[in-house]
């Protein structure tokens, strides 16, 4: 450990720490654009200037390693003046189209201008014109004029994905980010470039113009897209969920996530959900003593616990079937984040099953079910897109004559005259409490966010209903629970501003 002093704050940092990291660790403000903790040092924005004792020249903190006893500060007027001018140099050719720009509200330039801005612009000449609204591929749009050439995106494709699609072409103030014309930015991690872009130069086609970011709240959660279990932030408001961004997690995904995972918000939105229960009273009737249960690894450990406990205590003859997505691609891994196992909690399911001494039979369709007379519980996966046989199995299930209970997040279309089928809406990962175990057994906690479908319950909550005596009343109550009104509230005026 090295001792150093940052703006008068004494702290100890491990060897090899960059000065800028020490600044951030000491909770000192320091302007920066090009430096990103997950990428190599470029040192081109020249904003993280600081004074180091014993060095007459200002140094950039991102390319300086902390030395024993180093005393650094960025409080002097000289540094502040330099940073103000550094900001100005960034802005002289930057178009002021914040109103149109999707990044407005979370833009590095806006934020840092508040702190380090010059406020009296002295540039009175025509700005350099560059290309606008350039499609870099199916997911990302580029606006060269807004780009400050921090090179984060280029370094990302060079260092993280190693796909090398992006480059900075030309030189001087004509430099532009771009792809080579017949090789667009198409990789499975492309939208990360949008996240790391400190300005609005790169925007995501999916999220573009859907919402202004200040209308959104974020909720930290775990991506249920595959067994990697990246930590993510889900952005939502009363109208629903709008996007997912990665959250730093040193043990799992560091700063990144895959583009597939960015789609995990869609099935949470109420228009795609089973929003009411069908024939819930079936659950109350005395049922058969035999039960077949089909499940996937998309529920939390807590849900499996309570489910298995119930099965054990119910004195029924129970058979549990475990439905895997794509069994042949199940163990794939792309050496970065994406795994073939598209369930967030495979490890959790297997461990809980062992703990409760439950045998998991592989599920491969309803072929052996014809002679079976007892009850069937079918817990559908919430992320149905990764189950290629989903539609086929659901269709088959709906034709069964057994007393069938479907626990579903996605909409299930059912003939209402069929009294043997009951459908119970489930909560998604975004709405429930509990935890997942990822592929190597790391525990990741879910936090319940705002409920999107009011009658939805988590599996463990349904199980506790089933166990209780007044199941019917409870369901009635539940169906009367009104969906929360969702008029778009103006967050800014409500909180009294605070950009």
């Amino acid at each position: 450990m090295l001792k150093c002093n940052i703006n008068g704050v004494d702290l100890e940092v491990p060897e090899g720490t960059k000065l800028i990291e020490a600044f951030l660790k000491a909770e000192q403000k320091i302007a920066h654009y090009c430096w990103h903790p997950g990428l190599s040092v470029a040192g081109v924005c020249r904003l993280c200037m600081c004074e180091i004792e014993g060095n007459p020249r200002l140094q950039i903190a991102c390319n300086t390693e902390v030395q024993e006893g180093m005393v650094a500060s960025n409080q002097s007027e000289k540094v502040k003046e330099t940073v103000r001018w550094g900001m100005d140099f960034h802005l002289i050719n930057h178009p002021l189209d914040c109103p149109i720009c999707d990044q407005a509200g979370e833009c590095g330039l806006q934020e840092q201008y508040m702190e380090y801005g010059q406020y009296t612009p002295s540039m009175a000449h025509a700005k350099v014109k560059k290309r606008k609204v350039v499609s870099l591929g199916s997911k990302v749009v580029l606006d060269s004029e807004r780009c400050i050439l921090c090179s984060r995106c280029v370094r990302f494709t060079d260092e993280v994905t190693k796909t090398h699609e992006l480059g900075i072409f030309n030189r001087g103030d004509k430099s532009e980010i771009g792809t080579f014309h017949d090789k667009p930015l198409e990789n499975k991690y492309a939208v990360n470039t949008v996240d790391i872009c400190p300005v609005g130069a790169l925007t995501s086609k999916e999220f573009r113009f859907k919402q202004r970011v200040w209308y959104l709240k974020d909720e930290k959660t775990v991506c249920p897209g595959c067994s990697t279990g990246c930590s993510v932030k889900v952005y939502h408001n009363q109208e629903g969920l709008f996007r997912v961004k990665p959250e730093y997690d040193a043990e799992v995904n560091e700063h990144w996530m895959c583009d597939e995972g960015r789609g995990v918000f869609d099935w949470v939105n109420r228009q795609n959900r089973q929003s009411y229960s069908v024939n819930a009273e079936n659950m109350e009737k005395p049922s058969s003593s035999e039960l077949k249960l089909i499940l996937t690894a998309q529920q939390t450990v807590e849900e499996y616990e309570s489910l298995f406990e119930y099965l054990k205590s119910s004195n029924k003859k129970v058979e549990v079937y475990y439905w895997k997505n794509n069994p042949d691609k199940f163990d794939d891994f792309d050496n970065l984040l994406i795994r073939g196992d598209k369930n967030p909690n495979t490890k959790g399911l297997l461990e809980t099953a062992v703990k409760h001494d439950i045998t998991l039979n592989p599920f491969s369709g309803f072929d052996g079910f014809e002679s079976f007379e007892g009850d069937i519980w079918f817990i559908l996966p919430e992320n149905k897109a990764v189950y290629p046989l989903y539609e086929q199995y659901v269709e088959k299930a709906l034709k069964l004559e057994n007393n069938l209970t479907i626990f579903a997040v996605p909409k299930v279309k059912v003939d209402k005259t069929k009294k043997n089928i009951s459908i119970l809406p489930l909560k998604t990962y975004f709405e429930k409490d509990g935890h997942f175990l990822n592929f190597n057994g790391l525990k990741r906690q879910l936090k319940p966010g705002p409920l999107q479908v009011s009658s939805a319950l988590a599996l463990n909550e349904w199980v506790s209903f089933v166990k209780s005596d007044d199941f019917g009343d409870q369901v009635d109550l539940l169906s009367k629970r009104k969906s929360e009104g969702f008029r778009k509230k103006n967050e800014m005026t409500q909180t009294g501003g605070g950009l």
Binding site: C98, F209, W214, M492
Partner: protein, 175 residues
């Protein structure tokens, strides 16, 4: 604290003179208005309508460019700034990359509006203005929600408001 009580003097106890002076004023005006209609301060609403000054802040108008397209860029600053939360905008991608973003849906719930004018002030491109129109009658609730058709293309409006603004002309005029 003491209060001084004023005693009534003799003249004030006589009511008739005051009544008569009031009547003379009333009838004086009545005759004056009857025979000199031009000076009459009231209007025969709704046949006659009063035209307010150019600074009057009535119903909203969305300004348009010379080519007839909306000036609005759907930045949502008006909606953000609106204390009554009466503006709803849905943005979309424009084919022209110079425009980039435009509203495909712009609604003002005029019954919620408090006519504070914050939307006008928030607008960075002078796309919304408070106009000379001040009556907002309608037959059903839905008609109080004004959409683009109602808000824009109002070249017939008078009262000092321009609803058609061209950037080139404005630059020339030094705006």
């Amino acid at each position: 604290m003491s209060v001084e009580v004023k005693r009534k003097d003799q003249n004030q106890s006589w009511l008739l003179p005051s009544v008569l002076s009031g009547m003379s004023l009333t009838f004086g005006k009545m005759w004056g208005n009857l025979f000199n209609r031009k000076k009459m301060p009231t209007l025969n609403y709704p046949e006659e309508k009063y035209e307010y000054g150019p600074r009057f802040k009535g119903n909203h108008v969305l300004t348009v460019k010379k080519d007839g397209s909306l000036r609005c860029t759907a930045c949502m600053l008006c909606a953000t700034n609106c204390p009554a939360d009466c503006i709803t905008i849905i943005a979309s991608e424009h084919d022209n990359e110079e425009v980039e973003k435009f509203p495909i849906h712009y609604e003002i719930d005029i019954l919620r509006c408090v006519f504070c004018g914050f939307c006008e002030e928030a607008c960075p491109v002078d796309a919304i203005r408070m106009g000379p129109e001040w009556q907002s009658p309608a037959l059903n609730g839905g008609s109080f929600v004004y959409d683009i058709r109602h808000l824009a293309f109002r070249s017939e409006l008078r009262g000092g408001i321009e609803s058609r603004l061209d950037d080139a002309e404005r630059h020339k005029a030094g705006i």
